[in-house]
């Protein structure tokens, strides 16, 4: 006789992942399409349907529901529509997952409206806070001598602050808390058996099941990474600034020489590429 399931099997995790990925992915395609309204400096737009991953995080294993949703956004909302933003997406992936996981962990009894509301607003709010901090950090890193520019710091804080508030008020209430309140109690006890799972109760759901040592190590590594990037900028690390001794020792002539060689290389490469390209198209026809 096999034991009654208390933990999630590998395939159940995969089911949660796929469910969350496809649904949040689909909703993301819609939010990409819904136009935004500009009211003076304030932009009103539906950021995302965070209620979907939040509802799933509250009902199932938060970790897999959250990374499923974040993956869904990358695949449906970005890759398939040809809008993948590269590295920036990875940062959103991490922050969004963290927010959703926390939102899901806060709910022990999905039937309690209060817990669902608190979980939803704190989960989404955490995501917003984190991404606002990262956005500000980006400007701090990107602008040379950030502090030296008068008024810049204040304006950045205001712009980001306003964006944070509109997102929290519009998306946070209309598209996060209210829908989560509608969905979670309705789905509770109905959707779990479809995946062969038992509904979450205060007794069978322990935060320690989700926050495993592996999870902690992973988050520690990721925070270190984020911290490292921030540190780099503080260290006055500048790629273009290794030149003085070099120029002093060899003189400007050497640099001109380097440029000439490089230009010749570029020309030869271009010629080769054109030739190759023509051959290829010839082969095709």
């Amino acid at each position: 006789m096999l034991k009654e399931q208390a933990t999630f099997t590998q395939s159940q995790k995969m089911m949660i992942f796929i469910l969350s990925m496809s649904l949040y992915g689909l909703s993301n395609m819609f939010t990409e399409l819904i136009p935004s309204v500009q009211l003076g400096p304030i932009e009103l737009q539906i950021d995302c349907f965070a209620f979907i991953p939040l509802a799933l995080c509250m009902l199932f294993h938060p970790f897999y529901a959250a990374i499923g949703a974040a993956t869904g956004e990358i695949i449906f909302g970005e890759l398939m529509l040809g809008q993948f933003g590269g590295i920036g997406e990875i940062e959103k992936f991490i922050l969004f997952s963290v927010g959703m996981i926390v939102g899901g962990l806060l709910v022990r009894n999905p039937k309690s409206k209060a817990q669902v509301a608190v979980g939803a607003i704190l989960g989404y709010g955490l995501f917003l806070v984190l991404s606002t901090i990262v956005d500000i950090l980006k400007v701090v890193i990107g602008v040379e001598e950030f502090e030296a520019v008068p008024g810049l710091a204040e304006s950045i804080f205001i712009v980001e602050g306003v964006e944070f508030l509109t997102d929290l008020l519009l998306t946070g209430t209309l598209f996060t808390v209210l829908p989560a309140l509608y969905l979670v109690p309705r789905l509770y006890g109905k959707v779990e058996p479809l995946l062969g799972l038992k509904p979450r109760t205060a007794t069978n759901f322990r935060v320690s099941d989700v926050i495993t040592p592996k999870f902690l190590v992973m988050s520690a590594l990721l925070s270190l990474l984020a911290f490292g990037i921030a540190l780099l900028s503080e260290m006055d690390f500048n790629i273009g600034s290794w030149e003085p001794e070099f120029v002093d020792t060899y003189g400007i002539g050497v640099i001109w020489g380097v440029i000439c060689v490089a230009v010749i290389c570029v020309c030869i490469t271009l010629w080769l590429m054109m030739k190759k390209g023509r051959e290829d198209s010839h082969d095709l026809s």
């Binding site: 469910l19 496809s22 950030f146 008024g151 204040e154």
Partner: protein, 275 residues
Amino acid sequence: MFTLEWVKKLEDRLSLEYIKQELLRTAFSTEKSFFTQLDPRILLAWYGYFAIVPWFIYEHVTLVGYLLFMVILTVIARVSPLILTVLAVGLAGEILLLGFIALLFGGDLSIVAPMFWLSIKLAVISLASVTVFSSINPEKFSDALLRLGAPAQFSFSVAYAYRILPTLLEEFQQIILSYRLRGLAPSKNGVLYFRKIYYYITMLIKSFYPLILNSAKRSRTTVEALEIKGFSYAAKDKRVLKMKTNYLQTSQMDWLFLLLTVCYVVIVHSLQLIL
């Protein structure tokens, strides 16, 4: 009036058939450009450089040089003008807004210059990603990631997304239709079309209740099928991974492209020393 236009447009767009066709067209279109023939792994490495390094460059000559390179490449990659316009407007708007607020807070226009150079930086990075990812085939991209050590689940998810998107859209369309065939739309539009917008948005949100339940049923069969089709078997086997991604092969063109980039970067950085 502006809002009226907007709602009209929204109503047109709410013709789900239109949205569905548009999405499918975008997702399944395969446009050919110079970059589609390159090995996605090479492109990823290339992108890795241009996504990170510009952050730490503050010399104006180098930044302009990088930007010039990216502009030429976007032209070659035939990036849709719409994406470029959105990008440009976004960056310009940000600068203007910051300048405006800085003035309000007693600062002066000196804020514009550093923000301008930040925007150039961002433009280089965004153009690099647009060039690469608008011409890369997502499935090839995911296979490249698989080859580079990403989990098999991600690569599967990308392919699965292509499989399931039409089904999901179809189902969503039917559910919305069910709401509309049995519901009652508000007869009046309300202030700023508020009632209509409210009607549609609640419908959109409510439709996720049936969608979640239906998808849950579906994902169960899907995962079972994955199991009986030996997916977990393959995930453990390095040889299968190689077989799956065997078609990824670097050609002469890839190396030429890298060489070209290296030479160009050398020129730009050297020029910066002189000028």
